[in-house]
Amino acid sequence: MRIGYYPGCSLHATARELDESLRAVASALDLELQELDDWSCCGATSGHATNHLLSLALPARNLALAEAQGHDRVLAPCAACYNRLATARHEIAADAALAARVARVLERPFANRVTVANLVEVLRELGPAITARAGRSLAGLKVACYYGCLLVRPAAVVGFDDPEQPTSMEDVVRAAGATPVAWQMRLECCGGAFSLARTASVVRLGRAILDDARRAGAEALVVACPMCHSNLDFRQSAMLERGEKPLPVLYLSELVGLALGIAPDTLGLQRHFVDARPLAARAAAEVH
């Protein structure tokens, strides 16, 4: 399988381990990631908070590139980028007048033909391959799948899973041999956008998530969004009471990578703030 790859800005910076682990997993599962040549930023929150047309044109430029480079599907592992690309695609498809305006500012051929996939979606499709190649290294590992806000909402745009009772991340976790726990905060926003600006809000929201996951018996959180990750990993120390044990936060691709027996350093586990290497070590011990 071959797919266009839109890493997005964060995968070259704060979310390097997502990029690294995804590339490692893809290569192990014969998924060919073809990075879009000359891709640009999707505009993120700043785009759609200030100039609506720009918030569509920036993603559209990348979709047009993908089209020109012969792709019919693009993987955007960052949930925020994914949301922006998918929203742009949806809005442009629904409104011919808007499509014309976007075409006018793009000044390049754009048929809006490329579909956008997210990390969970693609890994779920690879589920059988993951199961086939995963060892039993993650057996018994209990994890809480955290969807956050951008992966499943709004349903009209995203539509790959039920917006209120999604199952796709759990499917992937099971395919990798780990055990998803049943918990309640899977879809509550962690406040990632305010990670630094409103620490109090973020601590309140993050705490509720970590608490619930811990109460459900999870040994780690699994995420598919660089914003969630940086918030819950990088900011976690502020969310803990004195003496509380931190909860490692893994990218879904890292978890799959561990299941496939890929070395923790290749997956970028050393880049985490909450040390995830003990988990990896445990997994490795199970293998041997």
């Binding site: 070259h12 000359d38 891709w39 640009s40 505009g43 700043s46 793009l106 709004p154 630094l196 809000s201």
Partner: protein, 184 residues
């Protein structure tokens, strides 16, 4: 639908309701104030105006009060409100549109943040560090906050210090100019 010929030429300043309908497609009059949006809003305990309040004030043409509201900037855009609105009203989109409007009307710190983020894209085609540390500082003006964490990020290879423009940066700049012209 075009208006009948007799009405052509008459011009009234658009109401906020009409403006929102034109820019977002959302008919704020369709909001029947059930509160399901606010019931699921993660920021409802912190903000003065909850999503259904925003819809209500918009429907009653309270433009000034809305555009001045701090609450607009406390929306996380998590879309829980939109996902659950029984009448398809999309409060998240309305809040976005109001922020866009507010940024136009009164440049404020938060607008400055978005502008600096966008300036990066304009300069390099990409943001070079997810707008995390530096941009938040620009936005908050708290230049010394989180100084301790920057080395942490650096040490983990998570910050790029030297940005490089992408090859098509001039194309991106052109799109910026075109969009600003179109939206003006």
């Amino acid at each position: 639908m075009s208006a009948p010929p007799s009405e052509a030429g008459s011009h009234h300043p658009p109401t906020l309701t009409a403006h929102l309908r034109a820019t977002t497609g959302v008919n704020v009059a369709a909001c029947y104030q059930c509160g399901k949006c606010s019931a699921g809003c993660p920021m409802a305990v912190e903000t003065a105006l909850r999503p259904h309040d925003v819809m209500r004030l918009a429907a009653s043409e309270q433009r000034e009060r809305l555009l001045a509201a701090e609450s607009l900037w406390l929306c996380l855009t998590c879309e829980a409100c939109t996902a659950r609105c029984p009448n398809g009203c999309d409060p998240a989109r309305v809040i976005d549109a109001l922020r866009e409007e507010a940024a136009h009307q009164a440049p404020r710190a938060i607008g400055a943040f978005h502008r600096s983020f966008l300036d990066q894209i304009r300069a390099f085609g990409r943001s070079f560090e997810l707008g995390l540390v530096m941009t938040y500082k620009l936005r908050s003006g708290k230049l010394t906050q989180d100084v301790t964490t920057a080395p942490g990020l650096l040490g983990r290879g998570k910050l790029k210090l030297v940005p490089h423009p992408i090859a098509g940066v001039s194309d991106v700049r052109r799109i910026f100019r075109a969009c600003e012209k179109e939206e003006a």
